[in-house]
């Protein structure tokens, strides 16, 4: 099957592209050299027989877990063998080995080791770091409990200091306090960093982190006082042993509390940490990864759906002519091209946040934390905005593939179930939107009291001036040029300002009516989320537009400008109500926007396949029969199905067990 020629439709599509996809790939990778290196690592993994295995869709959950553990251990060895140490390169390697899926050592590598590095004392690092580095200790990070997730202060696990023995007594006092969800906890780890409420000298000192051994290092059996297991089947994450952990009067030495910042002295005296702002840094980093993941997951889904739509022919457009590619139908273009534009937008936003984080984290180590609150507020909202959009977008891609999208061979079900929890983890999306809203309202209040705000919210400075004019809505009619991205940025800015102001005013009105701040906040929260979304949407349009000026190749710039316009104009169609009500657009302009979007669909159509080729996903990484680079879809669907577990025997055993007796009896 591998030697098959490229599908004629795809060959024609590729030949008709107006730009060179490699040049766009270089932009996405951050330079030609990085593309080269990525492909080198890709080859290293995909040509390595150790990383080959049966299609995961045919394996049971237990087998998938087993394969993942096998590959993870090899991965750790090979990374060291090859001397790959750059974080991006490790990320690539891992993502190729596991094909974008989670794996049981994720928490060990991504949380346990880094937490040791940042929060352990030198003595603790001596005791734990090297064994953990060499995987004699495998750890996880046990924060979430059955009853509490995003609201950390509500966690119930306790760690009570006993000065007599100089130990902490760790307890899960209720069912709801059982640790629930941590990856790698169920079956893999022998240690966990446990977050618990610290009690010393009769007082609660809030959440702190403790290193807790949970399994015997020799037999891997749970230690006395520890109940640990797997939380059962989930939507996706089959290869991950998300676990539960219940601790009953489990004692650990005083030295197992991570004490680089806060400390408990032998007599039980508590020493407060200096600053807790640093933990912001980690959160910003992880959220920036989710923004990147939104972009990649959506890009993969678009690649599959667009290639398949170029291969699939159905029905007739013109009587008597051959069936057209479904990509030629306006409704299909309208489903897919805005998502393609969104995928590009999010790629650029992801890269922007990562770079900003790198720049700021340089400042953090120098002690300058001034930019952190803004970045923190921004990434919270963007994490929610991009993951919600990508989540819905992946499903739209799948639906656009019709029945075959529903088969696991399309690969999209897997992308979806792997991606969708990111709307919940690392901060539930609605809560994240409200965090951004808090920052926006704060900035708005500053502006109202005559102060100026800086950075990405500086557009709020313009609000008081506008308010001097009586009919502000009518007076604001920005003359928007719908084919000019910069002008559309202004339109989105005006919408964000309008919604932030409306939410802030509604909040004030509620405060005037009621006493409690919390009640007023809750009663305004739908407005506040809308304001945050509009703010994030503005940021995305702005960053996409800003990216255009960096592009040197004219052909690439043209096609990206078309995508940027489509992204911005489609967003206006989807939120017409806001733009009309705020007086940013007139009815006639909205009609023009609708018309322009349809023109753009036709303009982008010839480049659609080349635009997904530029994402440059290796077939093995894409994991889709429908999205294969060579487009030989149907032949390979048949090959794939023949390997299905139900086809292992010609006559299924249930025939003898049930069907035959039935026929005999009736």
């Amino acid at each position: 099957a591998a030697a098959m020629a490229m599908n004629a439709d795809l060959r024609r599509e590729r030949a008709a592209a107006t730009f060179q996809p490699e040049l766009l790939t270089h932009i996405l990778d951050g330079g030609a050299e990085r593309t080269r290196r990525r492909k080198e690592i890709e080859a290293l993994v995909f040509n390595d027989p150790d990383f080959q295995h049966e299609d995961l869709n045919f394996l049971s959950r237990s087998q998938r877990y087993e394969q993942a553990v096998r590959k993870s251990s090899l991965m750790v060895m090979k990374l060291r063998e090859y001397g790959i140490a750059d974080p991006d390169e490790i990320f690539w390697f891992k993502s190729f080995v596991h094909r974008g899926r989670p794996e049981p050592l994720d928490l060990h590598l991504g949380m346990f080791l880094p937490t040791l590095l940042t929060q352990a004392t030198p003595e603790q690092q001596d005791r734990f770091f090297m064994p953990a580095w060499n995987l004699e200790i495998i750890g996880t990070y046990a924060q979430t409990e059955m009853g509490h997730g995003t609201h950390l202060r509500g966690l119930e696990t306790t760690a009570t200091y006993d000065p007599a023995t100089q130990e902490f007594i760790i307890n899960s006092p209720t069912v709801t306090s059982i640790k629930w969800w941590p990856g790698g906890l169920g079956k893999t780890s022998n240690h966990a960093i446990v977050l618990a409420q610290l009690y010393t000298q009769g007082q609660c000192k809030g959440l702190h982190a403790f290193i807790v051994p949970i399994r015997h290092l020799g037999t891997h059996e749970p230690l006395p006082g520890i109940t640990v297991g797997d939380i059962g089947p989930k939507f996706g994450y089959d290869e991950m042993d998300n676990g539960y952990l219940k601790m009953d009067n489990f004692r650990i030495p005083r030295e197992n509390m991570l004490m680089k910042y806060a400390q408990v002295e032998p007599d039980g005296t508590y020493v407060k940490p200096v600053s807790d702002k640093l933990t912001y840094g980690t959160m910003v980093f992880i959220r920036s990864l989710i923004v990147g993941d939104s972009a990649h997951s959506l890009s993969r889904a678009c690649t599959i759906a667009i290639r398949y739509s170029a291969v699939r022919h159905q029905s007739e457009l013109k009587p008597g002519e051959p069936e057209p590619q479904i990509l030629d139908y306006q409704t299909q273009q309208y489903k897919l091209f805005p998502l393609l534009a969104t995928a590009y937008a999010f790629q650029f936003v992801g890269a922007y946040i990562k770079n900003t984080y790198r720049r700021i984290s340089g400042d953090i180590s120098d002690g300058d934390l001034s930019e952190l609150p803004e970045l923190h507020a921004l990434t919270a909202g963007l994490k929610a905005f991009t993951s919600w959009t990508a989540n819905a977008g992946i499903e739209e891609c799948r639906m656009a593939c019709g029945g075959h999208g529903y088969s696991r061979c399309s690969g999209i079900p897997d992308i979806y179930v792997t991606f969708t929890p990111s709307c919940t983890y690392e901060g539930e999306n609605t809560v994240m939107m409200l965090q951004t809203a808090r920052f926006l309202v704060k900035s708005y209040t500053q502006v109202s009291s005559g102060q100026r705000v800086t950075g990405i919210v500086s557009y709020l400075n313009e609000l008081p001036r506008q308010r001097i004019q009586p009919q502000h809505v009518a007076a604001r009619s920005v003359t928007v040029r719908i084919s000019d991205p910069a002008s559309l940025v202004e339109a989105y800015k005006a919408r964000a300002a309008w919604l932030v102001e409306a939410a802030a005013k509604n909040l004030q009105a509620e405060l005037n009516h009621r006493k409690s701040k919390e009640d007023a906040w809750n009663r305004t929260s739908v407005d506040l989320v809308r304001a945050s979304e509009a703010h994030c949407h503005y940021v995305v349009v702005k960053l996409f537009t800003a990216k255009l000026s960096e592009i040197t190749d004219a052909a690439v710039r043209t096609v990206l400008t078309e995508l940027c316009l489509l992204y911005a104009l489609y967003g206006i169609i989807k939120n017409t109500g806001d733009f009309l009500q705020a007086g940013i657009f007139t009815d006639a302009q909205i009609t023009q926007v609708n018309q322009r979007v349809k023109e753009l669909l036709a303009i982008i159509r010839p480049n659609a396949v080349a635009l997904v080729d530029s994402f440059d996903y290796h077939d093995a990484h894409l994991g889709s029969v429908l999205g294969r680079y060579d487009g030989n879809v149907y032949e390979n669907m048949f090959e794939w199905a023949k390997k299905s577990p139900l086809n292992k025997t010609e006559v299924h055993e249930s025939f003898h067990k049930h069907l035959k007796p039935l026929q005999a009896k009736l």
Binding site: D230, E518, N647, L659, L662
Partner: protein
């Protein structure tokens, strides 16, 4: 014992849950029958779904076959018949987790398209399960567009047989249920060729497996199409045919026939076939879209009344997440939609029954309307309910992602309904074609079917609402919906006309307008649903408590639609910006009102714990205990960990530290 957080919700109900349940069922007697069926099924261990979340594809398939076989016995034992009032509740009680559903389609297809002789030959053995049928229409390369099917049936006059072939890979039959492993027979749809001339797609009865040992018949290649997002219990199959011969009598020939000399004759109109499609579409709206949404709402709302997170007021207990406005805004509109669709479905069912009576008297006049109606609503309801269930899933945070919540499997099963029995976009465009036709008829002063008479009574003017309370008047919002639907249909019709007059070819003009056409069809369906909800509430003569809460739900459904599609209503200034603020205010106020009855409103759907099969949604609200207990039953905890001996142990016992 019931979790006090749920008990307190129930204590505060403003209406009688039992009476609402009876009304939803269509009378207390129906409730009694339904409960008896559910009880009989659920008390039988063969039908248990307890371990479903832990089973693999092979185990799920086997269980479904076992249940289907056992069901025959059960029906006999309970004296339930194919025409009895119990039948519709059986599928519900089994949650669809049973094999041989396509066997029923096989039989219905023969009954509708077969001659009396064919019916007499095939239906009795099928009823006795001496053969198991399937329905092979969809191919790898073709789904909704039936004319494009590529399987061929060539008439061989010398042997009086049809020779069936799969000429290329894309012509392979793909997806038919019960075909991968179970079926012995199937109805195959193929392009009929006689004397080299193609007569289009026709159905043929074909045996694919031996009745003795179940092995495949000569010339047949068949198997399972592999894992899907759901339907693990169904052996969706593939089928490839190489010179398979069937006798001339195996072509279903009620409406057309190939005579021994090869003469092709048509008799009567197969319009009745449209009626079959319509019936299937309408029945799936209820079983595959509305019921799952009701279940999802039950799970998510009960869980939200039990789950406490963060504080609304300092010093107080953590708040129920159902008390957060954002959570209400996610869930309560979905609850209102479940009710709205329940009522529109009832209405559709009545139309269908009337249509059926008319067809008996050879009156096909209302068929186009019924067809357009069912297409549009199938698309709207499946799409709306699918996204609604996904919202419920995500509103349950991390625990919603566990299969044990029941939500992922509800979601993955129902989303297939957006595709089968007609892909939704195509169906919306069918409805749009009907609407455009009716619109031009109405403009020309010709009579139009009852559901679209509003197209001829276009009123100018603006929304008359003066304050936010005005938006609680059904007349106000129903007219707003009507106005939006008329505007979208008329502007699309005008654009279509303009394009054609400017010289664009008709089909090209149609393609250029399809995005708007689909939107117009949706607006029509949305309007009809709101209007029907309002009328249902108005006619409601049951006690005041129920009417009051139904009115709130109707208002909520209507205002949520305006709030979420503000642009459509603002576009020509029918609703002004200031009025839109009133809509928003009224809508948000309603959330707090409906919040109070949210738990009783889902209790009224009357799902047993077994049918919900959810650790989060049980009636007693003991969420966390159940989650913990169920997790411990997972094979990952009850079986040894093979990865430990093979990989973890060598890893932990320092093979790496030597590096």
């Amino acid at each position: 014992s019931v979790n006090p957080d749920l008990a307190s919700e129930r204590g505060a109900a403003s209406f009688s849950v039992e009476k609402l349940t009876a009304w939803l069922d269509g009378g207390a007697e129906q409730t009694r029958i339904r409960r008896a069926v559910v009880e009989a099924i659920e008390s039988d261990p063969v039908f248990s779904r307890e371990n479903q979340y832990f089973q693999n594809q092979n185990e799920r398939y086997e269980a479904a076959v076992r249940k289907a076989v056992h069901l025959q016995r059960k029906m006999h034992e309970m004296r339930w018949t194919e025409n009895g009032p119990e039948l519709k509740y059986i599928y519900r009680a089994l949650s669809g987790d049973v094999a041989f559903l396509l066997h029923r389609v096989f039989m219905r297809c023969i009954s509708v398209l077969g001659s009396d002789k064919q019916i007499a030959k095939w239906i009795p053995p099928a009823t006795q399960y001496q053969l198991i049928g399937s329905y092979a229409q969809t191919e790898l390369g073709h789904g909704t567009y039936l004319q494009g099917l590529e399987t061929t049936a060539v008439f061989d006059i010398t042997t009086q047989e049809f020779i069936l072939n799969t000429p290329k890979i894309s012509a392979m039959k793909w997806w038919p249920g019960d075909m991968g492993r179970s079926a012995t027979h199937t109805v195959v749809f193929a392009q009929l060729y006689v004397h080299g001339q193609c007569y289009g797609v026709h159905p043929f009865i074909l045996q694919i497996r031996s009745l003795q040992d179940h092995s495949l018949c000569p010339g047949i290649t068949a198997g399972d199409i592999g894992p899907k997002m759901n339907f693990e219990h169904v052996d969706n199959g593939y089928l490839m045919l190489q010179n398979v011969r069937v006798p001339r009598e195996n072509m279903l020939n009620k409406f057309c026939e190939v005579q021994p000399d090869g003469t092709y004759i048509k008799r009567g109109s197969p319009k009745i076939n449209y009626f079959t499609m319509t019936t299937v579409r309408i029945s799936l709206i209820s079983d595959e879209a509305i019921l799952p949404l009701m279940k999802a709402c039950t799970i998510a709302i009960r869980y939200s009344a039990v789950r406490r997170q963060s504080k609304l007021k300092p010093g107080e207990q953590e708040a129920k997440i159902l008390d957060y406005q954002t959570q209400q805004e996610k869930l309560l509109p979905q609850l209102a939609a479940a009710y709205a669709f329940h009522f529109i479905n009832k209405y559709l069912q009545e139309l269908l029954d009337r249509g059926y009576r008319e067809i008996q008297t050879k009156n096909f006049d209302n068929l186009p309307e019924l067809h357009a109606f069912s297409s549009g609503f199938k698309a709207m309801a499946t799409q709306y309910c699918t996204s609604a269930v996904e919202i419920c899933l995500r509103a349950c945070g991390g625990h919603g992602y566990s299969l044990l919540s029941g939500l992922p499997s509800l979601y993955t099963k129902m989303l297939a309904s957006c595709i089968y029995e007609g892909e939704n976009t195509i169906l919306l465009l069918q409805t749009a074609r009907f609407l455009i036709k009716c619109f031009s008829a109405a403009s020309a002063g010709q009579p139009v079917p009852p559901s679209v008479t509003y197209l001829s009574a276009v009123k100018a003017g603006k929304c008359p609402a003066k304050n936010k309370l005005d938006f609680l008047s059904p007349d106000i919002y129903t007219e707003a919906y009507q106005h939006a639907a008329v505007r979208l249909i008329s502007s699309t019709a005008a654009k279509l006309q303009d394009l054609i007059q400017s010289g664009v070819k008709k089909h090209e003009a149609w393609n250029q307008c399809t995005v708007q056409l689909a939107q117009a069809a949706k607006a029509h369906c949305h309007y009809t649903t709101v209007k029907n909800f309002a009328e249902t509430v108005q006619k409601l003569e049951t006690e005041a408590g129920i009417q009051k809460i139904m009115k709130h739900l109707c208002d909520l459904f209507a205002l949520h639609g305006i709030f979420s599609n503000a642009g459509v209503f603002l576009h020509d200034g029918y609703i002004s910006g200031a009025q839109m603020d009133m809509v928003t205010a009224s809508y948000l106020d309603l959330l707090a009102v409906v919040r109070k009855d949210a738990v009783p409103l889902v209790d009224a759907f009357d799902f047993t714990d077994k049918s919900l099969n959810s650790a989060l949604g049980s009636y007693d609200g003991q969420v966390y205990q159940r989650l913990y207990e169920w997790a411990q039953k997972s094979p990952t905890n009850t079986q040894t960990n093979p990865a430990y001996e093979r990989y973890l142990k060598p890893l932990l016992h320092n093979t790496l530290s030597k590096l």
